[in-house]
Subunit: 275 residues, 2 copies
Amino acid sequence: MNRKQLIEQIRKKQSFLCVGLDTDPDLIPDCLKDHPHPVQEFNKRIIEATHDLCVAYKPNTAFYESRGVKGWEDLVQTWKLIPQDCFSIADAKRGDIGNTSTRYAQAFFDESLSGMSFDSVTVAPYMGSDSVKPFLAFEDKWVILLALTSNEGSRDFQFLKSDDKQLFESVIQESRSWAGSDQLMYVVGATRGEAFTTIRKWAPDHFLLVPGVGAQGGNFAEVCRYGLNKDCGLLVNASRSIIYASKGSDFAEKAREEALKMQQEMAAELRKIDF
Amino acid sequence: MNRKQLIEQIRKKQSFLCVGLDTDPDLIPDCLKDHPHPVQEFNKRIIEATHDLCVAYKPNTAFYESRGVKGWEDLVQTWKLIPQDCFSIADAKRGDIGNTSTRYAQAFFDESLSGMSFDSVTVAPYMGSDSVKPFLAFEDKWVILLALTSNEGSRDFQFLKSDDKQLFESVIQESRSWAGSDQLMYVVGATRGEAFTTIRKWAPDHFLLVPGVGAQGGNFAEVCRYGLNKDCGLLVNASRSIIYASKGSDFAEKAREEALKMQQEMAAELRKIDF
């Protein structure tokens, strides 16, 4: 999905919600425990219940890898379940030297090899340009680069100041030359509301993937105030608050209710900017 | 494998060689192409031919993931092939927020869930302490943290100076409080020979995993001069120069020849420090 198509979906659905499919087998409702593929069935029902309210799905690969080969099978099947009109994100936080990053890119972008072709993958910036560029060599595929993350540990290195710029600013400034805003997004945690003005100084046009609203305590209103741009420019992710809204057999229904609440808040924000 | 056992193996084998199992199906000799599991068979024969000459094996997960479920099966089987007296490294360069990093740790450390239990995993430091600590919660398991990598792109961020310390120095200084030298190693590229003195200032006791000797052009003598410590303190990795030493049916034999050359150079270096 390219930038234009993504913006069209946001306009059509009046939503910039991304649903995080961080599906933890321990938290799946009892009613699915006897299903031959509980994770796949859970994801299927969550997607059916929410796809008209969100514009993106983001499985975090850790929750799949932790169960080895079976988990990887669930990841492949989950990718297949994501509707064509939703932007798909492999939240994998990969990154390695050039020829190896190409292999990671194949894992998430080349269906003929890996069985999956996500629209985008999250990538860690530590190893620099040649660890990121191999992903960008795939046409119409996106890199979502970690800039400022939502966890406590982000304070350890991401705010280190060099030549008056914090590390996350250097990451954005430097990486802008690797690709345009049609192939590159940034991860910016919602727990850092005040930082959005700094981020928008360096990346006025880029889409930002914003985790940390909901369970992690980020402030949605602040994110919108400082983060929205003329093309919307935000994908706000919610995982646990939606997919685990209920532990009962009504889990999909409750997930929809939570997604709907968020979509309505988003529609109100989009109206403010006449989107 | 704990630190004492690793040092014993180095002493016994007079080697600090790590063989990188970056097994690329496109580069597997023709004689294995009709095998039902070419990657597994290739790795099996490489391991049989080299295990008395090296102390560690390091499959890079990218080469397995790129082939989806089948590749992940090959990774699990490859882990099983690594002998008990060799240190096993999942070169995965993972890292995510706390509860998610726990899942990554399970993927590589918890055999009951994932089918694999490597001794160690490589981790990217960008997200800070709480992205690394979940791996360290596993007893006798190691984190090998990216510090200074061997690729060109390492110049983009790893050398940024803050308070007179370059980023890779801050990573080492900060992370030393997360675990001791019995659970934490650092990745330091051999292409940065001159940096080893700086690294040893911050991490005199830690083991360093050193890629970039061989195909990437690093200087083995410099690495030893500045990197060796009283417990050896180095694991030098070679991948392509060993596993692709021949494209013929003698690939395992030629791999052994290359590994033997390196083991002999290592034995000579260890004699210099009376190890």
